[in-house]
């Protein structure tokens, strides 16, 4: 473990935790502009978090300790996820602890905990939200895994740092299989982050909400942690997408100067990605929950076809 490695690891965690709400704010701002509304400030998510942290937490009478631990667990999972995805540098001491498969497992762990917490109170919304979240999860998880597998086949590795290094080093060629994986990844990322067309982060309409139904019982610091974790998840997914499909500019091992360059590149890529997300959300309408399995099934099949096409062409 070198000091540059340690530094880049720390920097990555700090940047992820600090900038994740900014990314949410940026997406919200663009969404408002694209929908011809006046936009909230870019710093609105931070104010929101500050306000929630200051408030008392209100717990339902019958909440078990699981309910109170879940926000911390989810937050911890998301921080670890951001720590192992190479965004600035590939020299990360924590990265060997989890490869692509473990990353998917990490997201699943967070999802299971938040769903269990939602069922803990025993209101209709919570358990309905949990059911829908798990429904999305069990379809999205294998699709995400297959997308990561396509990348693994190119680099012959599931280690995220090796994947990014390999993808960044090759010349720009479009693998047809990988393009399909890209489409699948976008679809999965939208679903997993509770975005239109699967869920609407701005809704509080009982019949349609998924993520909001899950966390309906949370308040105060618990809610703040969950919201923060949600923006960290968006950040993590964006970084996975960038790492897989636009890996250029990430500093290779032992190059501290390159890391200084990597930060603005990352910010530029995230800004562009956030704009695209807002655009996608504005152009689409939310679909009925019954159509979601079809949508995610398509993503799953696309990712598998991507994998197969890749293998076919490799032969």
């Amino acid at each position: 473990m070198t000091w540059t490695g340690l530094l880049s690891q720390l920097l990555e965690i700090v940047i992820a935790v600090a900038l994740a709400p900014l990314l949410s704010g940026w997406v919200n701002q663009w969404r408002a502009w694209l929908q011809n509304r006046s936009a909230p400030s870019l710093l609105q998510p931070y104010r929101m978090l500050h306000k929630l942290f200051n408030k008392d937490s209100v717990l339902a009478d019958n909440a078990s300790p699981l309910f109170r631990t879940a926000p911390y667990v989810v937050f911890g999972c998301m921080v670890l996820a951001c720590a192992i995805i190479p965004t600035l540098s590939t020299d990360l001491p924590l990265a060997p602890a989890a490869d692509a498969i473990a990353l998917v497992g990490l997201f699943a762990l967070a999802r299971v905990f938040i769903s269990l917490a939602a069922m803990d109170i025993g209101t209709a919304f919570g358990s309905m939200g949990a059911r829908r979240e798990m429904l999305i999860g069990f379809l999205a998880e294998p699709a995400l895994l297959m997308v990561l597998f396509s990348a693994s086949l190119i680099s012959q590795a599931t280690s995220l740092t090796t994947i990014v290094e390999t993808l960044a080093r090759r010349e720009f060629t479009i693998y047809p299989g990988f393009a399909l994986a890209g489409v699948a990844f976008t679809m999965v990322a939208l679903a997993e982050n509770a975005r239109v067309p699967v869920d609407n982060p701005a809704t509080h309409l009982e019949l349609t909400m998924i993520h909001e139904a899950l966390i309906l019982e949370y308040s105060g610091r618990h809610l703040a942690l969950i919201e923060w974790a949600a923006s960290l998840k968006l950040f993590a997914y964006s970084c996975v997408g960038l790492a897989l499909f636009l890996p250029w500019g990430v500093a290779q091992a032992q190059a501290p100067v390159a890391m200084l360059l990597a930060l603005p590149v990352l910010l530029a890529k995230l800004a562009a990605g956030g704009f695209l997300l807002a655009l996608l959300e504005t152009l689409n309408a939310k679909m009925r929950i019954f159509r979601v399995p079809e949508y995610l099934g398509t993503a799953f099949l696309l990712s598998v076809i991507g994998l197969l096409v890749h293998l076919l062409l490799a032969h």
């Binding site: 717990l59 209709a124 998880e141 280690s159 399995p293 099934g297």
Partner: protein, 674 residues
């Protein structure tokens, strides 16, 4: 690991036989103390647990040693029992010992007065069952194997029918014993093929035979059928969801967590030890059967409303995954890709151990719930984590491990399995290379669905509001029960956190079976689990856990430091609707609804929906699987038809039967005289 001298002059095999004999003594003692519950429960079962622990230790110590053989002068004249302890059997003995230690401790607190079979009889059947499983693993000739195998089936049949006054339990028991018989016949035939007309049924002779591809395939298919019937793979699974839930919970735990593994052991023994050939299509067949089983099992598990049936279907799923692992190993070893074969075999064996831990734990937890509430129906449970915190939190470990989530035991085997899929593209057959990613995708789907099922299982039983009034008085598990569950939960956690250590234990088995192992490879990377190199793929569960816990603690500390820890209690938010009741929560049926919709072709469904004008509206949905109609109903019809034909002869009059005898005599005489 110590060496042999630490155990004195006795061989490991002798110590295993001592444990077996100890269990048999306990079973006799159980009969002598037939109705003295205190004695049976608080003395005999704990001793049985300690013997299990001893078996665990001896088997762990025996992993590295060269095979030990013994001949017991039991059985028929001229047919003594041959026994053999090698690393493969030592590994399965270790799993049996470890899991049964926890289950026996639990059983010490579980059996109550007035529940079906008297406690002493339970003790007899239980310990004979344990001893016969050890016997199956040790057997080194077909005769001993079949005797032990049948003893195992019979003792477990009596355990399943412990509550024989309930008609469903009886029919489940008969279904079980029927399937066990059919499986046993196939195994017997398999041994018949393997001995290759030499008339010598010892395994040593079978190892020496070089069968051609045709007879080897016949032997393999028979083994697949026979052991598949025991493991509950498609389409021989029908008995499993009936029999496992019918038994008392410690027995369900023993059957699902431990007995099913003997089928895996048998198949490994036949295909890697007794047979020399390894054809790739055997692996392909195992892969296909396993995959269908896994998908079928998990889809059915997710729609169950009976908690023990749910777990039984989940066992079917896990057996499917094990078959997939074995199939992959066969494919790799048929192409001489030994390091890859070692990887997938390690995944399989790892899953055997973690499945034994978490499935036993979950079945024991249903036993606690059953005792506290006398309900198995998920629709009448809920909110039990408040009244039963021990059971609830310990079950959470089993649930997370069963869902294949890091950093627990189930994830490691899933990780290893997916790794071996990922590096499969080196296979020389393009068809397989194309199919294997599809299989990997389905495996990913299965494990994600397992997560769904486990959230349903835990959420509906332990979380939410109690759906019945009586649940408020549910009592927590007793001391013995806690000890058993804690032991198994520790197993789940350690298997998750120390994969490198455990893989080094498995190493001698893979070395013996496929001639390659992961041991040295993982030992090189220290705490990280990296089958090839850290740059290629690695997983470090301890760092992983510390990463989550560290950021969790940091978040907690920072929030407390910068802000506050104030908290209020209040009513849950109900949108201003004050008449909400516990019955308005999502039910188990509701949780299964999306699955029923998505996987509709899997099921035969009968729905009864109320109309708006019903005075007493009733909703009912019955879900069955197709295999009853596709396979079993035709067979049943056929046998009924044959029986009717035979019944034409049965006139019930003595003169008719005398005439039959007369005719038979005449025909015999004609044949003989000619």
């Amino acid at each position: 690991m110590g060496t042999a001298p630490s155990l004195g002059h006795w061989l490991h095999l002798d110590w295993v036989l001592v444990v077996m004999a100890g269990w048999l003594v306990l079973s006799v003692a159980g009969v002598l103390a037939l109705r003295r519950l205190e004695l049976v429960a608080h003395l005999l079962f704990p001793i049985g647990g300690l013997l299990g622990l001893a078996l665990f230790g001896v088997a762990l110590d025996a992993m590295l040693d060269t095979p030990e053989v013994a001949v017991l002068p039991l059985g028929l004249p001229g047919l003594p029992f041959h026994l053999r302890l090698d690393s493969l059997s030592a590994y399965f003995l270790m799993v049996i010992g470890g899991a049964s230690a926890g289950i026996s401790a639990f059983a010490a607190g579980y059996f109550r007065k007035g529940e079906g079979t008297p406690p002493g009889l339970m003790c007899l059947e239980y310990h004979v069952f344990l001893a016969s499983m050890v016997g199956v693993i040790l057997a080194d000739d077909a005769y001993a194997f079949m005797v032990m195998w049948e003893t195992m089936a019979l003792s477990s049949f009596f355990l399943v029918t412990a509550n024989h006054r309930v008609p469903e339990v009886r029919s489940a028991g008969y279904l079980y014993i029927t399937m066990a018989r059919i499986g046993a016949i196939a195994i017997l035939l398999c041994f018949g093929v393997l001995q290759a007309n030499t008339g010598d049924y010892t395994f040593a002779n079978m190892r020496a035979q070089e069968l051609g591809p045709f007879w080897a395939s016949i032997g393999f298919l028979l083994a697949l059928f026979g052991f598949g019937a025991k493991a509950g793979v498609l389409p021989l699974h029908v008995w499993l969801p009936e029999a496992h839930p019918a038994a008392p919970s410690p027995v369900s735990a023993l059957m699902s967590g431990v007995m099913l593994n003997t089928a895996i052991y048998g198949l490994l023994r036949v295909s890697y030890d007794l047979l020399h050939l390894r054809l790739w299509w055997w692996g392909g067949l195992l892969l296909a059967v396993g995959l269908a089983t896994a998908l079928f099992g998990v889809v059915f598990a997710s729609i169950q409303t009976d908690m023990k049936r749910l777990l039984a279907y989940s066992s079917i799923e896990n057996m499917g995954l094990l078959f997939v692992g074995m199939g992959l190993t066969l494919i790799f070893s048929s192409f001489d890709m030994l390091p890859m074969a070692a990887l997938s075999l390690t995944a399989t064996l790892y899953h055997v151990a973690s499945h034994a831990c978490f499935k036993s734990l979950l079945f024991l937890s249903t036993g606690c719930v059953l005792h506290a509430t006398s309900e198995r129906n998920l629709g009448k449970l809920g909110g039990l984590i408040r009244g039963m915190p021990w059971v609830g939190w310990l079950t959470l470990f089993g649930v997370l491990a069963s869902a294949g989530l890091p950093p627990l035991g189930g994830f490691v085997s899933e990780w290893l399995l997916l790794q071996s899929f990922l590096f499969a593209p080196g296979l020389p057959l393009p068809l397989l290379t194309m199919l294997i990613p599809v299989v990997a995708a389905l495996i990913a789907l299965v494990s994600a669905l397992a997560g769904y099922t486990m959230v349903k299982f835990f959420g509906v039983i332990f979380l939410g509001q109690p759906r019945e009034d009586k649940l408020a008085h549910a009592h927590d598990a007793g001391l013995w029960e806690r000890v058993g569950m804690v032991w198994l939960a520790i197993g789940c956690v350690l298997l998750g956190l120390l994969p490198t250590l455990f893989i080094q234990i498995i190493d001698p088995v893979t070395q013996r079976l496929v001639g390659s192992g992961l041991g040295t490879r993982v030992a090189a990377s220290g705490w990280l689990l990296a089958p090839n190199s850290v740059a290629q793929a690695s997983y470090g569960p301890i760092i992983f856990l510390l990463g989550i816990l560290g950021s969790l603690a940091l978040a907690f500390g920072v929030v407390r430091l910068l802000y506050h820890g104030r908290m209020r209690r209040s009513l849950p938010w109900a949108c201003g609707f004050p008449w909400g009741t516990a019955r308005m929560q999502d039910t188990a049926e509701g949780f299964g609804q999306p699955i029923r919709q998505i996987f509709e072709p899997f099921f035969v469904m009968q729905r009864e929906l109320p109309t708006p004008f019903d005075a007493r509206p009733r909703y009912r949905v019955v879900v069955e699987d197709h295999f009853w109609r596709w396979v079993y109903v035709p067979i049943m019809d056929l046998s009924a038809y044959l029986a009717r034909l035979a019944s034409l002869m049965q006139q019930g009059r003595i003169s008719v039967y005398l005439m039959y005898s007369f005719l038979t005599l005449v025909v015999t005489l004609l044949v003989v005289m000619r």
